[in-house]
Structure formats: structure tokens, C-alpha cells
């Protein structure tokens, strides 16, 4: 048997040996790039503290999970699921969010995405109104989402609590997320969540949202 195939067998036998570790993705723009909609101070803390904490804590939770799996400790495996969901969701959501935003906001979607929005909501303005309304109304911490319902072949809106990831909890493919945890806006907008959600439309990266839509309908 060749050396290569022996190594492959070894790697398969110890799947966690060289385990993938999650890392904080860099922002695609400078911390101050989204001003005046979102301040540099918020972006820096949001990325380097909150998102970084989700990444670190996800790695810790995964290490613990690995340990419990190897020991056959089912109770602990179940108990750590909350930490995996919370931190894993936080990592997924924020990784999407940074790319959903851009300093070069074009104001509205184009092409196939715009056509789908008009088909499923009547107009872009209706989508904005409905998504904003649902998102502002979230109790506590959470996210508002524009997603793609693959089963029904249409766009859909949803809200998720805390860091619940959209796809894992609802099946919808995430296209555009609006973070309404208070840390996303408080330093600038205080308790006026509505102003933040109104302003964020100016920095939505419709190219990114379109690319996600194109991938969703193909996939």
C-alpha cells in the first residue's frame, strides 16, 4: 500500500486530529467606511469584539463537543448544543452581514433579484416597508431577514431570535440580514431602532444580495 493511501486512511480515522478552526473574517472595507450610517466606533467593536467572541467561543464549544463525542457523553453533547447554536449562528450571521453592507450603496436591487422582489412583494418599496416593520418589532435581540424559500421558489421574510441562524432554523437561504441586537446600533441611535433600520438601506450591497440570490436559485 502506498504512503499516500496510508496517510489518507490515518486522516480519515482521526477526523478531528487536524480540526478546522474558525477565524474572524476581515471586513471588506475600513471601519469608518459605512459612516454616517454606522459609526466607526460601532463597526470596530461589533467586528473585533462581538464577532470575534462568537468565533472564539464557537471554537471552544466545538472542542468541548469533540471531547464529549470521543467520551460518548451524550448528555454533555446535548448540553453544549446551545453554545454551538448561539456562537455558530453568531459567526454565520455576522459573516453574511459584513458582506451585505457596502460604502457604495446603490439604493436598490437590479436584474433578476429586482424582478423576483416585484413578483413576490409587489414592489421594492413594499419589501422595504415589510422587512423594516418586522425587524424593528423584534422583541429583544435578533435579526430580520430576506431569504429564499427553495421549496416554493420564492423570496420570503423572516425574523430570528438571538443568533439563531436563518437556514438551520427555518430552511430559508439567507440573502440579506439586518442585525438589531442593540450592540449593532446603540452607541449611535440609542433606543431609536427605527432610525437605524431606516438608514441601513443606504448601505445595502445589492450586488452581494443578488449574488446570493443567484446561487440560491441554482443550488
Amino acid at each position: 500500500m502506498s504512503v499516500v493511501s496510508s496517510l489518507v486512511r490515518l486522516a480519515r480515522a482521526a477526523p478531528f486530529a487536524a480540526r478546522f478552526k474558525h477565524t474572524l473574517p476581515p471586513l471588506p472595507y475600513a471601519y469608518n467606511a459605512l459612516e454616517p450610517v454606522i459609526s466607526r466606533e460601532i463597526m470596530e467593536i461589533h467586528h473585533t469584539k462581538h464577532h470575534a467572541a462568537y468565533v472564539n467561543n464557537l471554537n471552544v464549544a466545538e472542542d468541548q463537543l469533540k471531547d464529549y463525542v470521543e467520551r460518548g457523553d451524550v448528555n454533555s453533547m446535548i448540553a453544549v448544543q446551545n453554545a454551538v447554536k448561539f456562537n455558530g449562528g453568531g459567526h454565520i450571521n455576522h459573516s453574511i452581514f459584513w458582506n451585505n453592507l457596502t460604502p457604495l450603496g446603490e439604493g436598490q436591487p437590479k436584474g433578476d433579484l429586482l424582478a423576483a422582489i416585484q413578483r413576490d412583494f409587489g414592489s421594492f418599496d413594499t419589501l422595504k416597508t415589510q422587512l423594516a416593520s418586522k425587524t424593528v418589532a423584534i422583541q429583544g435581540s435578533g435579526w430580520g431577514w430576506l431569504g429564499y424559500n427553495k421549496e416554493r421558489g420564492k423570496l420570503d421574510l423572516a425574523v430570528c431570535s438571538n443568533q439563531d441562524p436563518l437556514q438551520a432554523t427555518t430552511g430559508l437561504i439567507p440573502l440579506l440580514g439586518i442585525d438589531v441586537w442593540e450592540h449593532a446600533y446603540y452607541l449611535q441611535y440609542k433606543n431609536v431602532r427605527g432610525d437605524y433600520v431606516k438608514a441601513i438601506w443606504n448601505i445595502v450591497n445589492w450586488k452581494d444580495v443578488s449574488a446570493r440570490y443567484d446561487a440560491a436559485i441554482k443550488g
Binding site: 429583544g140 452607541l187 433606543n191
Partner: protein, 241 residues
């Protein structure tokens, strides 16, 4: 002159605590004034936070509760629960019609939760309890230090928005529990004695993401003189609720 001093003494001793109105029916809930100035909890809780927290968040919960209660009362003029105190309504939250249940759980809960929060903090707070309450804490948790560690741990670990509470149950036992969003321990048959607000708005302006620093600061505001008064209030109110 003496009668004036006596009158002042009586007034101060009998001045209503901000939670006393919670167990009485009101046509409209009114935002109570804080028992201290907005800057009185400095340096532990900053003035800017206390102002927005009280005049922004707490006020909005009150306004939204009033809106929901008004609609419910107009829709069902015979409902006795709709004409009860907000505490009673929260205790029977599952009996509130579906149309208004979520709004009242969230906003009525928010209104009451914040009253308890303000009521159990004060300037020159901190230290530790004494007397009967201290004995109860020792019985329930082993020691005050153990209680503080347990409470702090729960507050640090809470995911998302919510509160951590020290409550008394109907058997007189003490428990530490947490609620999510604006859920109230009253809805679980418990009586709140002490609470820390873990919503980010409670600490973000001063502490940003550093929740641990906020919790540590908050311990310095805990009013161990007020907690037994709140406890006695629940004991006395229980029969009339």
C-alpha cells in the same frame, strides 16, 4: 416647629415606593419618577444610560402597555382580568386573550421589570444584606459569597436579552432564575426581590461589549436596605392580588 419635623419624618418614612402602584388598578400606567437623580448611580451606572433607560425604554414599555390594555378593555368590557393590576395580569398572562398576550407580556413585563430594577438600586449601595434576609440567603445558597457567585455567573452566561433575578417563592424559599426578553418571574408564580437588567441598553454606552464590567459595577448599586422592604411588600400584597 416640632410638628413640622414630625410631619416631614412621617412623610419621608411613608413616602410611596415606586413599586406600590403596580398592585393597584390604573386606567393608565404612569412612568414613576426614579427614587434618585439621574446621576446618583455614578460612577457605576452612568447618567446618560439611566436617562435613556428610564425616559426612553421604560417609558415606551409603559405607553405600549397602556395601548394594549385600552384595546383589550374596549374589546371586552366585562373581563375582570383586564381591570386588574398589571402585576395580576402578568401573574395570569396565559389568560390574556391571544390578540394582546404578546404585547402585554413584552410591554407590561418591561414596565414592571424596570420598576423593580430601579427600586433595588440606590446611591451608596453595595455591601451585603443583614438580618432575616441574610439568613435566608445563607440557607438557600450556603453563604452570601456563594449567592453572589451564582448570580454573577447566571448574569454572565445569559444568551441574548433578559434579566437575572433573586426571587422568593410562595413557600418562602429563595431562588436565582433568569428570564428572557421582558418575561417576568411573576408569570412563573415567583416574587422578584432583586434584579440585574442584562439587555445591552442597560450597559452599552458605558461598558460596550464588556458585560462582566457592568455586572461588577452593578453590585455596588444594590440597595440591601430596600430589598427586604420589597419582600415585605409582596408578603402584604399577596392576599389582595
Amino acid at each position: 416647629m416640632l410638628w413640622m419635623w414630625l410631619l416631614c419624618f412621617v412623610f419621608v418614612c411613608n413616602s410611596e415606593r415606586i413599586y406600590e402602584g403596580l398592585v393597584v388598578y390604573h386606567d393608565e400606567l404612569k412612568l414613576p419618577d426614579l427614587p434618585y437623580d439621574y446621576n446618583a448611580l455614578e460612577p457605576y451606572i452612568d447618567e446618560a444610560t439611566v436617562k435613556v433607560h428610564h425616559l426612553g425604554h421604560h417609558k415606551t414599555y409603559g405607553d405600549n402597555t397602556n395601548k394594549a390594555l385600552k384595546e383589550w378593555r374596549e374589546a371586552d368590557p366585562t373581563s375582570p382580568l383586564a381591570r386588574s393590576s398589571i402585576v395580576r395580569i402578568l401573574q395570569e398572562i396565559t389568560e390574556v386573550p391571544e390578540t394582546w398576550q404578546v404585547a402585554i407580556r413584552n410591554n407590561g413585563g418591561g414596565f414592571v421589570n424596570h420598576v423593580i430594577y430601579w427600586a433595588t438600586m440606590c446611591p451608596n449601595g453595595g455591601g451585603s444584606p443583614s438580618g432575616e434576609l441574610m439568613m435566608q440567603i445563607n440557607r438557600a445558597f450556603g453563604s452570601y459569597v456563594a449567592f453572589q457567585e451564582h448570580f454573577t455567573s447566571a448574569a454572565s452566561k445569559l444568551f441574548g436579552s433578559g434579566y437575572v433575578w433573586l426571587c422568593e417563592n410562595v413557600k418562602g424559599g429563595l431562588v436565582i432564575m433568569s428570564t428572557k426578553n421582558q418575561d417576568s418571574p411573576l408569570s412563573d408564580g415567583l416574587y422578584p426581590l432583586l434584579v440585574v437588567d442584562i439587555w445591552e441598553h442597560a450597559y452599552y454606552l458605558k461598558h460596550q461589549n464588556k458585560r462582566a464590567g457592568y455586572i461588577q459595577s452593578w453590585w455596588n448599586t444594590v440597595c440591601w436596605d430596600e430589598v427586604p422592604k420589597l419582600q415585605r411588600f409582596w408578603h402584604q400584597s399577596r392576599n389582595s392580588l
